[in-house]
């Protein structure tokens, strides 16, 4: 069978994008080749000249880096998805807490730690830090943060009871049975969470633009919505 376009996508898109690719293939197109990894790793590969067709980043910053290197096909960059940030606790936890200005998260943590994706590096962590800062509680938790490698690892810390609370994407929390969503952060408390998509300049595959269009189409977006992503 003919190879489909090579799509480099943030690891958190794994389930939804795989489903979307299957749907696209079901329409008679060659199945896209999907490579999931951290956005940073994928962006670096593009910058190093990797012959890929599409790039789906978990944040704007790495897409910017690729754009700055002049490797995006002009006019193809758009925002594909949005997401929400939620506060989670182990499934058995009885904790009640609503993320709002000055909410008592520090007290709720007690001696425990707050699991986040690394706020210095990973997008989900940066959003979480922004939200907590906006709500005026960052100072209270800054010293109690457990920065994990990525959102999934942060969630694993909560799943395993190593941390009583964590902040992850709504999509992740929704998929796990071992955690409970304690509350959702107000959308205004952090910069909008956006997953940009773009066709790469190196792309030679005739389907690249078509697959991108499919993802942005109504049936495409419906798949992502089913996995908990919001429209941008």
């Amino acid at each position: 069978a003919e190879r489909g376009p090579v799509v480099l996508a943030a690891a958190s898109l794994q389930e939804s994008l795989t489903e979307a690719a299957d749907a696209w293939a079901a329409r008679g197109h060659p199945k896209p080749v999907l490579s999931f990894a951290a956005s940073s790793a994928l962006a670096r590969q593009v910058i190093a000249g990797a012959p890929a067709d599409l790039f789906l980043s978990a944040d704007e910053e790495w897409m910017d880096a690729v754009a700055k290197a002049g490797l995006l096909r002009a006019g193809t960059r758009t925002t594909l998805l949005g997401n929400r940030l939620v506060l989670i606790a182990p499934a058995a936890s009885k904790l009640r807490l609503t993320p709002a200005r000055g909410f008592p998260i520090g007290r709720a943590l007690g001696a425990g730690r707050l699991a986040l994706a690394d706020p210095a590096a990973v997008p989900a962590g940066k959003y979480a830090k922004a939200a907590l800062t906006h709500l005026g509680v960052w100072q209270a938790v800054a010293s109690k943060v457990a920065p994990a490698e990525n959102v999934r690892a942060a969630m694993a810390l909560v799943e395993r009871g190593a941390a009583p609370l964590g902040i992850v994407y709504a999509t992740d929390a929704k998929a796990s049975r071992a955690v409970r969503i304690v509350g959702t952060f107000p959308a205004a408390s952090h910069p909008p969470i956006r997953y940009p998509v773009a066709v790469l300049k190196a792309s030679r595959h005739r389907d690249a633009a078509g697959f991108r269009a499919f993802l942005l189409s109504k049936p495409g977006r419906a798949i992502f919505a089913r996995h908990g992503f919001s429209a941008p």
């Binding site: 090579v6 480099l8 690891a11 958190s12 794994q14 389930e15 080749v33 999907l34 490579s35 999931f36 990894a37 790793a41 994928l42 670096r44 590969q45 190093a48 000249g49 990797a50 012959p51 890929a52 999934r152 969630m155 992740d172 998929a175 796990s176 049975r177 071992a178």
Partner: protein, 231 residues
């Protein structure tokens, strides 16, 4: 028992790991030999260089490989223009990453064995008419065999487990670079896929146990008879 996809992943892992280790073996042996037998200026530096992939986080090694062997990198450009070969997104790139990560382990194991060779035996072989090379093949190498086998086992196990450098260098392409650890990583990204993770992890374990059993059998075959007698 295994799905076609899982078979594919196992086959790819075996190919990548096997070729990485076998292709590295001669270089690793040469390095081990150099480090064990010769003293030259820069010896410690070479030793340090060999250990580098062990010391650096694998992601950094992958990144360095990407810089060097990516299509824009010097080595990558050279490979492309002279041989028309690109390692990007290819299993050959995964094998290169695995080989580099396995190198320090392989060199150390063989070096230990080479240092343990009784050099008087080499002298004896020379007086019997063996030139340097013949002596090497018939005496030194067989005497270093325990180290070579240990190197194969360690290197293969390390290759089978290699993740960080691979995903950073050649990404996570199904059928090309998605070896077992990358498949496990992918499964780990899906909440609730613990069963899948466990399954794949057990596959890794089975592969390396197989390699172990094979190596033990080889050791016994080649060494069984020449145990020292019980006095």
């Amino acid at each position: 028992m295994l799905s076609a996809e899982e078979w594919g992943i196992v086959a790819l892992s075996l190919k990548v790991g096997g070729i990485a280790v076998l292709a590295t073996l001669p270089l690793a042996f040469a390095l081990a030999w150099l480090l064990a037998r010769r003293s030259f200026p820069g010896r410690v530096l070479l030793d340090g260089l060999v250990h580098l992939p062990l010391v650096l986080p694998p992601v950094v090694t992958g990144w360095l490989l990407l810089i060097a062997f990516g299509p824009f990198g010097p080595a990558g450009r050279w490979l492309e223009s002279w041989f028309g070969v690109s390692l990007m997104f290819r299993w050959t790139g995964a094998a290169l990453a695995a080989a580099i990560m396995a190198l320090p382990l392989m060199v150390r194991a063989m070096r230990l064995s080479i240092e343990g060779i009784d050099r008087r035996l080499e002298g004896a072989a020379r007086t019997l008419g063996a030139g340097r090379w013949h002596c090497f093949w018939t005496i030194s190498l067989p005497l270093a065999l325990p180290g070579v086998l240990a190197a194969l086992v360690l290197g293969f196990a390390r290759s089978i487990g290699e993740f960080g450098a691979t995903i950073t260098f050649v990404s996570n392409i199904p059928g090309e670079t998605r070896t077992l650890p990358l498949a496990i990583y992918s499964a780990l990204q899906v909440p609730g896929a613990e069963a899948m993770v466990t399954r794949l992890a057990l596959l890794s374990v089975a592969l390396s146990l197989g390699a172990l059993v094979l190596s033990e059998w080889l050791v016994r075959r080649t060494h069984g008879g020449r145990r020292l007698r019980g006095d």
